[in-house]
């Protein structure tokens, strides 16, 4: 889903002969000549951010993303204010499936270029791949608003809505896309899932996987569905495959960690949960699960550290507050435990009240305005 958009940088030229010639060679497709010129330039001017960035672009154009990344990083080290380099670096990182790193650079870039639709789209796709469909949705919708004529974003939007948003919206976006059977099937499956039709969703996901066995989003979706249905024996190999097909998928790593742990392999569970945390910054759920494992193992200090991180990220989650309260309680920190338990009571009561208000407001909507 990642579209590569390389932006060559035209910048102030400290050594016109080498840099300018190199850019002209690049423009006419003579990448070897361009590389030689840029290399000579950075040899003479090792502090030239432009030189490093252009050299990186040559590697990126060749598809040598692993080589391009350190060169872009060197350019940024030389001049951190070169915002376009963040974008180009993000593209290479995305190609290497380092989605969380790519997202971080895109966020920096978008601070300076908030209306850059392609960057928003790319950020959305990176967030989607790293298992943050809600964040992805936000970025993709912004991107679509900035450039409503870009048809390529419609699949991404439909997919993101189906994963983390509103199935009706997803269906609407899907209707606007041109036919792409596998993509469309995947999204159809997600819509069925969101509507509670799990058996039907499973059938669709299975069909997608049969037709395209390495289509990671479908493999992961099928694994998630098996997990939710507590078919752990089926879920584990699917999510293992999903993680192997996309090692950057933090959500699948997290879910696999939960599965390993609840099937008696806590050590593998912990490893996978830590991997999820390494892949995605600000991911509260793996901290919670790690905290629960440590709590169960009697490693209260480690449990506390993880659960306090989870609380910072998910302060409104009763389960986190509950687990934290129990750890404080076990450590004899009575006042802190009491505060957490009180918070659980408050949050639970709020859920009950919210449900009631929603029902009341539904009823009022049905009644409509009173007649004069």
């Amino acid at each position: 889903m990642l579209g590569v958009a390389l932006i060559l940088i035209s910048l102030a030229v400290p050594q016109p002969d080498l840099l300018g010639d190199g850019q002209r060679a690049f423009a006419r497709g003579d990448l070897d000549r361009a590389e030689a010129l840029f290399r000579e330039h950075v040899k003479r001017f090792p502090g030239s951010a432009e030189g490093w960035s252009n050299l990186a672009a040559v590697h990126a154009r060749r598809g040598q993303y692993a080589e391009a990344v350190p060169l872009y990083e060197r350019a940024l080290k030389a001049n951190p204010k070169l915002m376009p380099v963040h974008f180009n670096l993000a593209v290479s990182l995305g190609q290497l499936k380092r989605y969380a790193d790519a997202a971080a650079h895109l966020r920096v870039f978008l601070k300076s270029y908030p209306n850059e639709a392609r960057a928003r789209q790319l950020l959305g796709l990176c967030l989607m791949e790293s298992g943050d469909p809600r964040g992805a949705l936000e970025e993709l919708e912004k991107s679509y608003r900035l450039n409503p004529n870009d048809g390529s974003i419609l699949y991404a939007l439909a997919y993101a809505h189906a994963r983390g948003g509103d199935e009706n919206q997803a269906a609407a976006y899907l209707a606007k896309t041109e036919s792409n059977p596998v993509q469309a099937k995947l999204i159809e499956g997600l819509l069925l899932y969101r509507r509670g039709m799990w058996a039907e969703a499973k059938e669709v996901f299975s069909e997608v996987v049969r037709r395209k066995p390495d289509f990671q989003p479908a493999v992961a979706a099928l694994g998630r569905l098996e997990l939710l249905e507590r078919n752990d024996a089926a879920a584990i190999p699917l999510l293992e495959r999903a993680v192997s097909l996309n090692p950057q998928d933090a959500e699948s790593a997290y879910q696999l960690g939960v599965l390993y742990d609840r099937n008696g392999d806590s050590e593998s569970g912990k490893k996978m949960l830590k991997r999820a945390l390494a892949l995605r910054a600000g991911y509260g759920d793996p901290h919670y699960q790690l905290g629960r494992i440590y709590q169960r193992e009697g490693k209260l200090d480690q449990a506390l550290a993880e659960l306090e991180k989870a609380r910072a990220l998910l302060p409104e989650q009763e389960a986190v507050r509950m687990a934290l309260g129990r750890v404080y309680q076990a450590m004899g920190r009575t006042a802190e435990a009491k505060a957490e338990f009180e918070e659980v009571r408050r949050l639970k009561a709020r859920v009950v009240e919210r449900d009631r208000l929603r029902v009341e407001s539904d009823s009022l909507m049905k009644e409509g305005p009173e007649n004069p």
């Binding site: 899932y193 969101r194 509507r195 509670g196 039709m197 799990w198 998630r224 997990l227 939710l228 249905e229 507590r230 997290y254 879910q255 939960v258 759920d285 919670y288 699960q289 998910l314 989650q317 009763e318 389960a319 986190v320 507050r321 509950m322 687990a323 309260g325 309680q329 435990a337 009491k338 338990f341 659980v344 009571r345 639970k348 009561a349 009950v352 009240e353 449900d355 009631r356 929603r358 029902v359 539904d362 009823s363 049905k366």
Partner: protein, 583 residues
């Protein structure tokens, strides 16, 4: 956690469930089981249909849950009688929709004495029953909750009752705009003055005329099938505490006791016992789809709610469950009272063990009681059905909604009861046909009450079957050299019925606790006599922790009989005090 959230996002529903699958059923122990249950309700004369809401479908949550059964000896003839609540219909209630009192004639024959006993009342939405001798006259009284006016049936000691709820100060004044929904209730002596006070939980602040219809919002469907709405999405109710003044009247102390402020729960069954062994009676209230409540007695008629702190408000994942019924007993033979709580489908029932200081641990999976999750659990009890000295567990089951079976055949409306035999070390084994033909009968059970109805020493069971006649499960136990005792406790300083007393019995190297409870199971009251199976032990020693705070030892020899333990007649061994536990 995110997994749970994702699952919930797919569809809403009105009753909490975790969406869990059953744990694997372990290999059968192969040990013989001697207690066989046979349903003898028809020949016993328990024939009245227990009307309750629609038979094919229920439009309102009001129609779905009820089921109080009380086993008690109302006429002091030595035979346990049976009271069964009967409800109503939203439209055209049948004239025989009246709660029934059946007098035990002996030999498992019963006579309907409802009218003769003065208990005939116009059809209404009766819910649960609690027993207790609130005026200490030696005759057991009966409290019945309603969606509507609750009833306090004072036993006139002449075979008749009089509803004195209003006179006793137990009805709201002025009357609320919509009726209160009295649910669980329990008599309990909270201030150790020898008089039973009364706790009444309320389920929903329910207005029949302003409740959404099935399918109207996410709380009105189950697995995509439109069903009656609630409890989620409806207004929670508050709970009530009444102090017995000792002159036949009660005083509402809900606010000053600190009970009234807990008004964000859907209260169901209530039990009262000394949870933390500090000598003061506490109240545990199972709540539906909200955290269950433990009101810990501060000793001054005020209470601190500590359900979450003590581990019995939520499941191990911090999620609320559909708390329905409560079984109280000592599953691991440590002399402390444990709790078994029943729940909705796709969830496990939960077994909490008490560490003796009122802190509980969920051992459901370790105990092996999570092996079935399709059946909704209601009435439950922890009793030694086969007299091997280890208390077993029974669960009455039945789906909430009569109308979902066609779309969801995996979740039938009528289901079999469940019996878990205790293998020792708090490990349980699920028995089905091994436990007799009644275990294969399918009904939509709600309440269940446990007691020795034929005075043969073993525990029989009465099941409240929605819109059917009840079941009477006669226990045909081949004793096989196993022994038992049945203890009738009589308070002198404590309330006369000794409700809240805990008995710790030592027998054959074992030590087991049981309590005298005014309400347990689902909205029901069990035989107030305390029953123990003894295995091969031929003698036992009972330490009684009376609600007055005194502890006393009684030597029990011979066994295989009913013994009366009167407060002050044994050998006093100590006095409980706040924060101390007696040996």
């Amino acid at each position: 956690m995110a997994l749970a959230l994702a699952a919930c996002a797919a569809w809403g529903q009105g009753i909490a469930s975790r969406g869990v699958k059953p744990q694997a059923k372990p290999k059968a122990s192969g040990m013989p089981w001697h207690a066989k249950f046979t349903n003898v309700a028809q020949q016993a004369g328990l024939t009245q249909v227990l009307h309750y809401g629609g038979t094919e479908k229920s439009d309102y949550v009001l129609e779905t849950s009820s089921g109080g059964v009380a086993i008690f000896d109302y006429d002091n003839d030595g035979w346990m009688d049976i009271f069964l609540v009967v409800g109503s219909k939203v439209e055209n209630p049948p004239p025989d929709a009246v709660s029934r009192l059946y007098r035990n004639l002996g030999g498992l024959k019963f006579e309907d004495v409802t009218r003769k006993a003065g208990l005939w009342r116009e059809p209404g939405w009766a819910q649960g029953a609690a027993i207790g001798d609130y005026n200490n006259d030696g005759c057991m009284d009966l409290f019945v909750t309603y969606w509507g006016d609750n009833a306090l049936y004072r036993n006139n000691c002449d075979g008749t009752f009089t509803d004195v709820a209003e006179k006793a100060g137990l009805l709201p004044s002025p009357r609320p705009r919509v009726p209160r929904w009295g649910a669980g209730a329990t008599f309990v002596d909270l201030d150790r003055d020898g008089f039973l006070d009364l706790y009444v939980s309320n389920y929903i602040d329910f207005d029949l005329n302003n409740t959404p219809k099935p399918g109207e919002n996410p709380n009105c469907n189950w697995k995509g099938v439109p069903v009656s709405c609630g409890p989620r999405g409806l207004k929670t109710a508050r709970h009530w505490l009444y102090r017995n003044r000792g002159d036949g009247t009660f005083e509402d102390i809900s606010v000053r006791a600190g009970i009234a402020k807990y008004d964000k729960s859907f209260g169901m069954s209530a039990v009262a016992f000394d949870v933390d062994d500090d000598g003061w009676q506490d109240i545990y209230n199972a709540c539906d789809s909200t955290p269950s409540l433990l009101f810990r007695n501060n000793g001054d008629l005020t209470f601190t709610e500590e359900g979450i702190e003590r581990g019995i408000a939520l499941n191990d994942d911090g999620m609320e469950q559909a708390g329905m019924g409560l079984g109280i007993g000592d599953v691991n033979l440590d002399g402390k009272l444990d709790i078994f709580k029943t729940h909705f489908a796709d969830d496990t029932h939960v077994l909490y063990v008490n560490d003796g200081k009122g802190m509980f641990r969920d051992i459901t999976l370790k105990a092996g009681v999570g092996v079935e999750t399709r059946r909704v659990g209601w009435g439950t009890g922890i009793y030694d059905f086969d007299h091997d000295g280890l208390p077993d567990t029974f669960i009455g089951t039945g789906c909430v909604y009569p109308e979902t079976e066609a779309a969801l055949p995996a979740y039938p409306y009528k289901t079999r009861p469940m019996l878990f035999r205790n293998l020792g070390d708090a490990r349980f084994e699920w028995l089905e046909q091994e436990a007799g033909p009644a275990m294969l009968e399918k009904h939509s059970v709600r309440g269940a009450a446990f007691g020795d109805l034929d005075n043969d020493g073993d525990i029989d069971i009465v099941l409240w079957n929605r819109n059917e006649a009840p079941s009477l499960l006669r226990n045909d136990l081949k004793t096989d050299g196993r022994n038992w005792v049945l203890l009738r406790l009589e308070g002198t300083k404590s309330n006369r019925g000794a409700f809240g007393a805990r008995v710790v019995l030592e027998y054959g190297g074992k030590r087991q606790a049981k309590a005298v409870l005014s309400q347990a199971s689902f909205y029901s009251a069990n035989d107030p006599r305390v029953h123990f199976g003894l295995g091969e032990a031929t003698r036992a020693r009972a330490t009684v922790y009376w609600p007055s705070g005194v502890a006393e030892v009684f030597e029990l020899e011979p066994v295989n009989r009913e013994a009366v333990l009167k407060e002050g007649a044994g050998r006093a061994v100590g006095r409980t005090a706040a924060g101390q536990s007696l040996p």
